[in-house]
Symmetry: D2
Subunit: 339 residues, 4 copies
Amino acid sequence: MIVVMKPGAGPEHIQHVVDLVHEFGLEDHVIYGTDRTVIACLGDKRMLEKDAIENAPMVEKVVPILAPYKMASLEVKREKTTIAIGPQQFPIGGVKVGVIAGPCAVESRQQVLDTAEAIKAAGAIGLRGGAFKPRTSPYAFQGMGKAGLDLLAEAREKTGLAIVTEVIGTEQVALCANYADVLQIGARNMQHYPLLEAVGRVNKPVLLKRGMSASLDEFLLAAEYIIHAGNPNVILCERGIRTFESYVRNTLPLAAIPALRERTHLPIVIDPSHGTGHAHMVPAMSLAAVAAGADGVILECHPDPEHAASDGAQSITPQTFSNLMDRLRRVAQAVDRDL
Amino acid sequence: MIVVMKPGAGPEHIQHVVDLVHEFGLEDHVIYGTDRTVIACLGDKRMLEKDAIENAPMVEKVVPILAPYKMASLEVKREKTTIAIGPQQFPIGGVKVGVIAGPCAVESRQQVLDTAEAIKAAGAIGLRGGAFKPRTSPYAFQGMGKAGLDLLAEAREKTGLAIVTEVIGTEQVALCANYADVLQIGARNMQHYPLLEAVGRVNKPVLLKRGMSASLDEFLLAAEYIIHAGNPNVILCERGIRTFESYVRNTLPLAAIPALRERTHLPIVIDPSHGTGHAHMVPAMSLAAVAAGADGVILECHPDPEHAASDGAQSITPQTFSNLMDRLRRVAQAVDRDL
Amino acid sequence: MIVVMKPGAGPEHIQHVVDLVHEFGLEDHVIYGTDRTVIACLGDKRMLEKDAIENAPMVEKVVPILAPYKMASLEVKREKTTIAIGPQQFPIGGVKVGVIAGPCAVESRQQVLDTAEAIKAAGAIGLRGGAFKPRTSPYAFQGMGKAGLDLLAEAREKTGLAIVTEVIGTEQVALCANYADVLQIGARNMQHYPLLEAVGRVNKPVLLKRGMSASLDEFLLAAEYIIHAGNPNVILCERGIRTFESYVRNTLPLAAIPALRERTHLPIVIDPSHGTGHAHMVPAMSLAAVAAGADGVILECHPDPEHAASDGAQSITPQTFSNLMDRLRRVAQAVDRDL
Amino acid sequence: MIVVMKPGAGPEHIQHVVDLVHEFGLEDHVIYGTDRTVIACLGDKRMLEKDAIENAPMVEKVVPILAPYKMASLEVKREKTTIAIGPQQFPIGGVKVGVIAGPCAVESRQQVLDTAEAIKAAGAIGLRGGAFKPRTSPYAFQGMGKAGLDLLAEAREKTGLAIVTEVIGTEQVALCANYADVLQIGARNMQHYPLLEAVGRVNKPVLLKRGMSASLDEFLLAAEYIIHAGNPNVILCERGIRTFESYVRNTLPLAAIPALRERTHLPIVIDPSHGTGHAHMVPAMSLAAVAAGADGVILECHPDPEHAASDGAQSITPQTFSNLMDRLRRVAQAVDRDL
């Protein structure tokens, strides 16, 4: 942490900050520049709430130096983490790119089984589907609940696909962990800390979606919550951020892939469905995600998008999915990966 | 809802959309323009997931016409709602502007009681303070828990102030509702639906903070969740949005006040502390909030901000608070309100 | 400037950076922390392009410490600047709040004279109106040109109001400077440097609008261009920024007022018309601007907004303007200003 | 255009809007719904300023239906435009992906020639380099001017590369058009209309960068200005937008590629250097751009980025560029393009 003093700060102001720094268990290092005095604070106390120093007299700003997370960082673990998911223990984070697909919400037995078989045939390794749905409106379809989980389990039985399903509250964690191979934390829950802690105490991989206005620090701190609670198997999922752009539901910032690689060992999956909000943009952005180095892609796929109970506008058909898989494979190979 | 067809859409494409519209229980009204055909859909089915129509062939876009919320809207209730809070039943939403202040986190008996007495003397009507803290980092101070609630209750006893405290998970709703006069839902939980439903089943007013990237529709739908679950006493709180601006923690969009007035009957409170993130900007933005028509202001106030366990950088001292109250009163009177 | 090295940086990497720092004419000061080495760079070379150091091996990031502008900063001039405008030399930046109003575009003699007389009667000190219009579409009304300037001059003659008009290209600077009392640089031209330099060589005050996604540093550097070219009379105008919010044309960040006060001595004017885009929000945001400490407000006012050639949706009528002025005066007095 | 009336709008309010619609030369079509009356307006008057209707009594909002641009749109020209650039008339917009590279600013003869030869050898088709630099700070290096253009011309002579250079003011258009093969309009000038018109009157292709907070409509309207002035050879360049993200200089929204393809026939080039701001992210985002369907990529490449006079942090070395070209070629082939 660096404390920058305002021009005109006197010895008494500097001493006051130095005293605070000592109180916080840090060492000070004062540097007198031509225009500014800055006080470098030494010692690893990243857990301390230090921006309060900003309130001391004649302090201009406080600049943090260390990343606030630890176990998610490359400083603690330099080699990439690989997480095996599902009955066939498909590794996410290795050379192969993993593709997960399925409907936004589980709606019926036929919908789930048809989709599962189609995506399996095309090369997917996981089936996504929501049994509990976090809906923006209280009047929208809220999911089939436990009955939906049963259908997902049946689809796994038939296809060997790993089941990825969202858990929307602490109450459902135990139930969902019984059924699913991967627990998904949705973007709107990325900072719901009781839920992060609850999935941190469970022995199932977690797919953690980035909040739609979360910084990378906040994203990795959410992962840190889960790891800190005991579960190291966190898959990061970029699903787009909220910006001024109106032609997309979210802006998908693929530069998050190389940026996260500089910061963390955790695998990175991209969601081009929420990341654009429109089915016709999903193929281009899926190809781009793989080219940019994603470890996986998660897609919404529905046999009849026009009648989907939710997110129809961003769902592609199994036919489109199958064609896309062929193209994804070629791009994966062009960047020395495979599918 | 208006469905806009692409140029070149033929009769078969239009018929296909008309069939979908009928299936959804709506009436169609087709308008043939010079460049585009548009299909207006009539009937009140705001709860339907209709953007799936976007996936039909030759559809360019779907434009919603109706707001997606009902009970929070002016269409259902035209007169402003007033919500009485605390032992003295201070009305929020009337002519008087209500000021709520207090520390980010409850830290000690003396901190709470000193703050409570100071703000009471200056004219505040509510005491805010967190006993359970949603912290971005798992290593940060997580709050005193039940012991903190006891201190808040003691402060209420001594001062008559209404107690406003955040509830961060469904597990704490019953406990917090026993102690607090107003349950606060934080910005990061604005779309945690199980929590919204839980506070909707409790007989205590709710202060609902806008998510930092929530649209007004999403904000009012979150209020709708609470009302729909049975609790009509929702106070809306604007606390700033995330933008590209770096000189503030959040950008405080005061135009939300007149915009919400056009849409809802619920009272509106502004949080200039989170809305700026820096103590030195809090007075100007508090004055601006009252001038723009806010029904209340909620402020972070700490007797020793440099040593605050959280949010020290944005907390003002009781002395600054007292001076600010005098200025707020003058501005309130200048816009025909009072404090 | 502080250079933060990556963990694992060796003596050779540190020496390489130190050599670069010396080459750039700065002194180094190396601090070895527990997790990181940081290199503080001393010396006032704010004009140097230094982020290239980021490209040196094992550098994590470069943190600037000094603001990049000088003449616009409080470090060079601590007392607030007051700029006198118009035939009556009304001071902007003093105790009185100056209100400037008028149509987006000059459309006809009657429109201009009627508006001028109405706003003068209500207490305005300046008349705004565009003769050259920067329009998003090549098919939109582009302004009356020189004929419009003649009408503005006639209105000044009749009312004594200061004339504020936009200059959209270097070609019009001389012409506009002949007619206008204040030259306006629009938000879209805030970084058109040849234009900034051209108005910097003219002896007329400049109203510089903040670009819709400009940082405060970029805004003040644009002012610096004008001052550096020889014209110290720059009035800063906040007119809203582009964010994800869709209920407004722009989000008006009033916290820019206290933030700019911490950085610059230049006067600050707020534009609630562009800052919201909707006439019904203009009064609330004008009141808020004055409460937050603005030195002036600039408003779009049109006798017949429904038929305005541009920006009708955000223009208020002279009647609304007159009522608003009464309320603005009361709020100004409540914050120890006047109108 | 659709006008949505507020609930409670009476026949007189509807008639008033209908009268306005007629006045504007449009036909009305009134639809009475259960909750709202909407008025569809028929007729092609996209150039009209129609949002003024929003100001009519009891109007809730005005929803545009038609895109505001014409000649840039697929409605006027359905097949993709191909633009040949440079002495070897390399086509941008065909099957081959064109790569343009070079330093941010022309600094010396050796810098330019070395870079030109290196990128030519690696397969580039164009050389970029600024002779006139729009700099955020008046104290930064402003470019070599005409001497820089001479060096670029010499490099073309030697390598056959097409020269792409930025023109920052109307004054330089004639000079730059004499030297360059492609005139670049920078992001900060995307809405400087006199400049758009000036390059529209010149017989050289224009590379138009998207403004950092421009909507796609505004971007295509800027292209429309150039085409409307007589120059149909506009190459669109996405270079990133300003968002809340701080780990990048700009957020690069690659979904703009499929979105623009739905709207325009113009070729699309991506700038991953400005689009990220950090050299280490440039390769991943270049690969992603090609996978997403870009017609070209424009990159900053400098033989000694640590000493670059501008934008060093985002410049890659010729060696990195050469390696990247091999990978780009493989990805291009994987999506049925070539390099």
